[in-house]
């Protein structure tokens, strides 16, 4: 853990970002989205390279979760384009655009994992079954193999002992780790995290951080919505700051957290810096 945190967070992404051979994993171009009257995303553009970790931060209601949900098309977007590995998400390439058939959406989602803020564990399955289920149903593994892979992943997130408990018998942090394990076990190309550490104690945050670093080292691309600035600073290659449905700041953690000229960003971070200098 200490070896990892010794790294200078700012240098790693700089190296990656300038690599000319890197093809973008996720390209978001001019995406807008409204719920009825209220516009939640306004012309958002963002590129995430292969193996890059991008954190989305910003005030409550700024559209972070919505943007994340648009990436795997759990939410439709009204205008603009989202591409994953070059393929347009949710729509066919023709104009006027139409929705792709569900089968195509499914293929995309197979490679794009998502960890939900509210975990969304299935209450009728034990922790182990929650993790093994998709391995059988989506990846088509035999039950025994799925089970042993699920066991391995759950052990890795420290849940070897509560593997056979149903979600409502697990503490908040335990549930969250099951949710993470469920996605990691699927070995997707991209993982989207919606506040993956909100129910975790600091120690576990450290462990999840380590899990994510390992994943990043294995070439996993990740988009992470988080309120833990410390977490963002350490895991992210790039940080995007959303406010009122717009990306108002984007850059390395060092840049966003310490050098930003945007008054909104400075104000946002102020209380945080104050609180955590004790």
């Amino acid at each position: 853990m200490s070896a990892a945190s010794d790294q200078n967070a700012a240098t790693v992404p700089a190296a990656k970002a300038t690599d000319p051979t890197a093809t973008p994993m996720i390209e978001i171009a001019n995406v807008s989205k409204s719920f009825g009257q209220t516009q939640v995303l306004r012309n958002v553009s963002l590129t995430v390279n292969r193996s890059e970790v991008v954190c989305l931060i910003g005030p409550s209601g700024s559209g972070k979760s919505t943007l994340l949900r648009c990436i795997n098309f759990l939410e439709t977007y009204d205008a603009g384009e989202i591409r994953i590995e070059g393929r347009l998400v949710g729509y066919t390439e023709e104009t006027p655009r139409r929705r792709v058939p569900n089968r195509q959406l499914r293929e995309l989602r197979r490679n794009v994992g998502m960890v939900f803020q509210h975990f969304n564990l299935w209450p009728h399955m034990t922790a182990l079954e929650n993790v093994a289920e998709a391995l059988v149903q989506v990846r088509g593994l035999p039950a025994a193999e799925a089970k042993s892979r699920a066991e391995a992943v759950l052990t890795r997130v420290g849940l070897a002992e509560r593997m056979h408990a149903y979600p409502n018998r697990l503490s908040g942090g335990q549930q969250q780790r099951v949710a993470i394990a469920r996605v990691v076990a699927m070995e997707p190309h991209v993982i989207l995290f919606d506040e993956p550490t909100s129910a975790l104690d600091p120690e576990l945050v450290g462990e999840v951080l380590q899990v994510m670093r390992d994943l990043a080292a294995d070439g996993m691309t990740m988009v992470v919505v988080t309120h833990e600035m410390g977490f963002a600073a350490h895991v992210a290659d790039r940080v995007a700051f959303l406010d009122g449905g717009r990306i108002v700041e984007y850059g390395t953690p060092t840049h966003v957290f310490h050098e930003s000229a945007e008054p909104r960003v400075r104000q946002f971070l102020q209380t945080y810096h104050e609180r955590n200098s004790f």
């Binding site: 989602r109 197979r110 994992g113 939900f116 969304n120 998709a134 989506v138 149903y166 699927m186």
Partner: protein, 215 residues
């Protein structure tokens, strides 16, 4: 005297009970399948699917089972489809019960948070697998009390299949009563048999309820 009458008729009553159980079980199975499929079709088959399902439910809940039986048994032959009595009986029970079961499931699905199917979608589950593995099992668990109600009602409604000439429990007991003029004894006997069968269904239900409990 009345004991010998009972003893003489008991074998026939039991045979009728066997028929009741067999036809009801087949009807129940068919009803569960049709019910689940109808519910899925109404909720995810778009507008057309919803409409077809709604018409089906409206007809099979709305029209008395007796009449459905007569329609299947007597009307279908008029358009050239001749169904044997047993098939007509099972089909009518299954179709009627399917309409009720689909509504039970539809209600239960309202109680399942949307996030759960989202989680499955995000993992790349196909819609059919989400239904099979995430939604229907939970709907089933939530609905057990209502489903057991439905099973018991179906079992009792099966007494109507005698109109297509199937000799089930009620019919046999009526016949025995009419011949012996021992109405009270025969009906009491039949009632007791129904009570036992239904008791078994209820026990099965509470066993399933306990088994599937996760809290």
């Amino acid at each position: 005297m009345s004991f010998t009458v009972l003893a003489n008729n008991l074998p026939f009553l039991l045979k009728g009970a066997g028929m009741t159980i067999a036809v009801s079980l087949a009807g129940i199975l068919l009803g569960q399948i049709i019910g689940a499929l109808t519910c899925v079709m109404r909720l995810s088959g778009g507008r057309a699917g919803d409409l077809v399902g709604a018409v089906y439910v409206s007809f099979f809940r709305g029209v008395p089972l007796l009449i459905q039986l007569l329609l299947i048994y007597y009307m279908l032959p008029l358009i050239g489809i001749n169904v044997p009595p047993l098939v007509a009986a099972i089909a009518a029970l299954g179709l009627a019960s399917g309409a009720y079961v689909s509504e039970i499931y539809r209600g239960a699905l309202n109680a399942i948070p949307h996030g759960q199917s989202e989680a499955a979608l995000a993992l790349g589950f196909s819609e059919s697998r989400i239904w099979r593995r995430i939604l229907l099992p939970q709907a089933f668990r939530i609905s057990i009390p209502a489903l057991v109600n439905e099973l018991i009602l179906l079992l009792k409604a099966s007494s109507l299949i005698s109109v297509v000439g199937v000799a089930e429990l009620t019919r046999v007991s009526q016949t025995a009563a009419a011949t012996t003029y021992r109405h009270l004894e025969m009906y009491a006997m039949a009632g007791l048999i129904y009570l036992v069968i239904n008791g078994c269904l209820a026990l099965l239900g509470s066993y399933a309820e306990r088994r599937l409990k996760t809290a």
